[in-house]
């Protein structure tokens, strides 16, 4: 049983795990940001050299550790220096107005601010600090989040990105974006 204050695995978690299993290589040092219940990271042991996970929610990191995942409580990856070869993130991506906020731990898992991209913007702005030179990022986004706008955020930070997996749900489509350094532009 998951505590009420931890995001339960849903279609988005399953889609991110599927993309991660297709992407991960045995030598990868993997970071999962915003681990929630630990569903994705717990599906990776034996497939990567190491897996570390973070969450700001104390219930989520406790839950992840109970599943045997090395967990660190921090905001995104603020307390980590890396480098990591594969970074996974199922972010809070739902456009949320201030009056719609729930003001509890679960809110951190869902609330993407008015555009749905508030947390994603912070993630993309700093991800280069912890990503290895040939590292890859898998980011889950929704059609509600504006995938093209998210790709534009990556481009502005010097990354190339494209959709590697998707799944249509009732009211939205989920996408996994894969981003890596645009090596042609490095040093330019």
């Amino acid at each position: 049983m998951l505590p009420d204050q931890v995001y339960s695995p849903a279609e988005d978690s399953e889609l991110l795990l599927r993309a991660a299993l297709a992407e991960v290589r045995p030598a990868d040092r993997v970071l999962e940001v915003g681990i929630g219940s630990g569903y994705v990271a717990a599906g990776l042991p034996g497939r990567a050299a190491s897996v570390v996970a973070t969450d700001i929610n104390p219930h989520a990191v406790a839950c992840a550790r109970a599943r045997g995942v090395e967990a660190v409580r921090t905001d995104l990856f603020a307390g980590l220096c890396g480098p990591f070869d594969l970074i996974l993130f199922n972010p809070p991506y739902l456009p949320t107005l201030p009056e719609e906020r729930l003001d509890d731990w679960l809110e951190y898992a869902l609330d993407g601010g008015p555009t749905g991209r508030a947390t994603i913007e912070r993630f993309v702005a700093d991800i280069g600090r912890v990503l290895s030179p040939f590292g890859r990022v898998l980011l889950l986004v929704s059609s509600l989040t504006g995938p093209d706008e998210v790709r534009e955020l990556f481009a502005r930070q010097g990354f190339v990105s494209f959709v590697v997996d998707e799944e249509a749900l009732e009211d939205e489509t989920l996408y996994v974006l894969r981003a890596m350094w645009d090596l042609c532009r490095m040093g330019a």
């Binding site: 040092r29 570390v52 700001i56 104390p58 990191v61 406790a62 550790r65 090395e70 967990a71 660190v72 409580r73 921090t74 905001d75 603020a78 307390g79 980590l80 220096c81 890396g82 990591f84 731990w105 600090r129």
Partner: protein, 61 residues
């Protein structure tokens, strides 16, 4: 947390190195202790095996 996690941890504020003090461990696992950022003069707790690297001003649960 395992001791070798130290290699990839840093101060969440200044990104500087942390030094580990262990008060309880089990094999390679650090269960209780602190991570100190000397530059910021701040101690970050490790509790029940989980390092808490939230800035110390952040609201607690």
């Amino acid at each position: 947390m395992r001791r070798n996690l130290m290699e990839i941890l840093c101060c969440p504020v200044c990104k500087g190195e942390l030094s580990l003090t262990v008060t309880e461990e089990s094999g390679e696992e650090v269960l209780e202790g602190t991570l100190r950022c000397a530059a910021c003069s701040v101690d970050y707790p490790i509790s029940e095996g989980i390092p808490n690297l939230l800035p110390q001003t952040a609201c607690e649960d």
